[in-house]
């Protein structure tokens, strides 16, 4: 048991010692799929130097859908003001993957939707649970990430996007 504990301590000290600089991580390079079933690499996520939102979600995840519905209601406004685009990366597996396109269209969403069927992107992003939302600046650097959704938190997201613009 002691050994385990020492190992745990060692790992965390190691983490500490590496910690030198504030983050400027970018998105990992992972193959996901477009709704057409084509391979798409996540390093190609871009928006012409403007901010990008990346959301990990699933059709069966209630708070995920609530968050995307809330953003969809104000998306036009956000786009006009900041030029932001949202990549909604679904982690629905084979069980519900074929229903993602009808679901998204049925809701009338304008987001760019990708599919991470075997969770390769979710794993590379170290995401434990969805919803998971992150904000990238014009250089593709992740400047903010957030897990879970409470009604109204989209307001804070918009403030952050506007800050990048300045």
């Amino acid at each position: 048991m002691k050994k385990t504990f020492l190992l745990l301590i060692a790992i965390s000290i190691l983490t500490f010692s590496f910690a030198q600089e504030k983050p400027k991580a970018t998105l990992p390079s992972v193959d996901v799929k477009t709704l057409d079933g084509k391979v798409f690499n996540t390093k190609n996520i871009e928006n012409d130097g403007k901010p990008i939102l990346v959301s990990l979600w699933a059709t069966w995840c209630k708070p995920c859908v609530a968050e995307l519905m809330a953003i969809n209601d104000v998306y036009e406004e956000w786009q006009e003001e900041t030029g932001v685009v949202l990549y909604a990366i679904s982690i629905d597996d084979t069980k519900t993957a074929a229903k993602v396109a009808p679901f998204v269209n049925g809701k009338g969403w304008d987001f760019i939707v990708l599919q991470d069927i075997n969770w390769d992107f979710k794993r590379a992003m170290n995401v434990v649970d969805v919803p998971f939302l992150c904000l990238l600046n014009g250089n593709g650097e992740i400047i903010w990430s957030h897990t879970s959704y409470a009604p109204g938190s989209e307001k804070e997201v918009f403030e952050l996007i506007k800050k990048i613009e300045k």
Binding site: I9, T94, V104, V128, D129, F132
Partner: protein, 606 residues
Amino acid sequence: MNTLKLSISSCLSAFALLCLLLFSSSAFAQIKVGSGTISGDFSFNGMFYIPDSTIGARDVDSKVRANAWLNLNYTNGGFSAGARYEFYLFPLIDFQDIHYQGHGITNFFADYKNDFIQVTGGYFYEQFGQGLTLRSYEDRNLGIDNSLLGGRVKVTPYKGIQLKGIWGIERHNFNFDYIKRNDYVRGLDAEVALADMIPKLSEKGVTLTIGGSFVSKFEKAEDKMFDIYIDTAKYHAFYNGHAITDFTATDIPDVIKCQGLISSDKIPQNVASWATRLNFGIKGFRLEGEYASKVNDPNLSNDYIYKRGEALLMSASYSMKGLGVSASFLRADNMDFRSQRDATPAYAALTLNYIPAINRQYSYQLLGNYSYASQPNGQIGAQAQVNYQIPKKTKIGGRYGTDITVNYARFHDLQKTLVPLSDTIGTITATEGYTSKFFGFGKTLLYQDIGFDITRRFDKHWKLMLMYNYINYNMVLQGKPGTINGNHVGFELTYKINDIHALRLENQYLFIPKKNNLEEKEKGSWIYLLLEYSISPKWFITVSDQWHAGNKSKLHYPNAAVAFVHNTTRIALNFGKTRAGILCVGGVCRTVPASFGLGLSVTTTF
């Protein structure tokens, strides 16, 4: 008592590490090392158990239990490497029940990729096509991790073509004694995006992708003895049929029990499975399908028959802005495919492929309790769904539009005809077990669900969801008698007080008719109530109760929880009761024992 101390101390150690990490992650998040970055995640799920005989929460030997894990990944350009530490020394009781016990470095890998090639060594996860032949994945909530230890190469020789090759030994819970293993898996997969190569297709807006995969598992064969029951009047086995090469009967009453033998030379050491798939789309229309087949694979889950396995999964959908229609068909026959032929069918461990359940996946408590569990060895069924939005800014649709979903699903067992073993007791050769019609529906209805829901946002403050479902859930899916024929009604009301404070109320009723042949403790209707108060974006306070109002027991399963979220860190404390039942994700289910206690969950991504 010593175990209790030990479990407390070990769970505390895991928790201490967590605090350290939380501190380090909040201070430094996504750490830069030279030109690379270190990232990771950490999770801790702990519970203090209180025995409660009324709900069947058993008195466990160690009251303090926890699951914890830590992932660390290093990325530098095209190179990445990582490792995971898992701690299940005194696991939560539902994880102990599925043999998740141990601790150590359970995953490590190194990976290099550029535009042409990707090479991975160590543990990896992979899915071929829709997964009917191969899917290695992890779902921590379910306790599934069937990663492969070995190597993988992915090549993109030309735009639109992707080739994959894998070799590996499948992870089996916490048994890491790979030297003793007699089994391994290899596979090839190819996918071609035809529309990328034929300009005429893409000009017409057609997308077309085809693919194929081949997976073969090897497992050394040994002579095998096992018990068999023979009905002497009919001269065939009680089970679907048995693949017995030789046995001797000791006496001849109506039913005899005797020992059967499968000699090693009659057991296929290599079992191959292949699949072909298609993804076609034009404008809003899309057709996806995969057909898989598996050669003879006598194993414990199919009573050692030599029948070929096959599965077909087809989905068609049409969608345009405001409307989505989809229909899926699934048939699976003898497709339980595992690394080891004697793996226990009741657990998902050592499964190589993925036969999903294609019914609608509900996140509402009372429906979730009766989630359909996929039957890889025999199921046929279909699901259809319509998503429609009454347009925004119309009289009926309202300012924000109104969303409507209608859904129907039905699954049966297969229509099987048993193949008798032999007329003479003596030497019996290998058997197919049964034959089945491809589009034949068996007599047993496993699951049916018809329902709809309507979601409408009235103004900045009020949002309402109404739902109705009629479900038939055959309790055979949980190994129990009877069928739940229930009417489910529910609503979810969200009141956003302002941009920060919001209230959410969920209320569901599941009416189960009095006349049924369910077990006594399963009888009667259920009521569920949940109230959540959120202070955006950091705090969530939830109280809920699940009440078995229609049962003699009148049992309550109350819960209270507080959660705090800061960026990617979530800390939740909950106190209450969990009902015994099943937990399903994607049609893969595990049983969950009843429990009562105080839980703490912390997760963070850094």
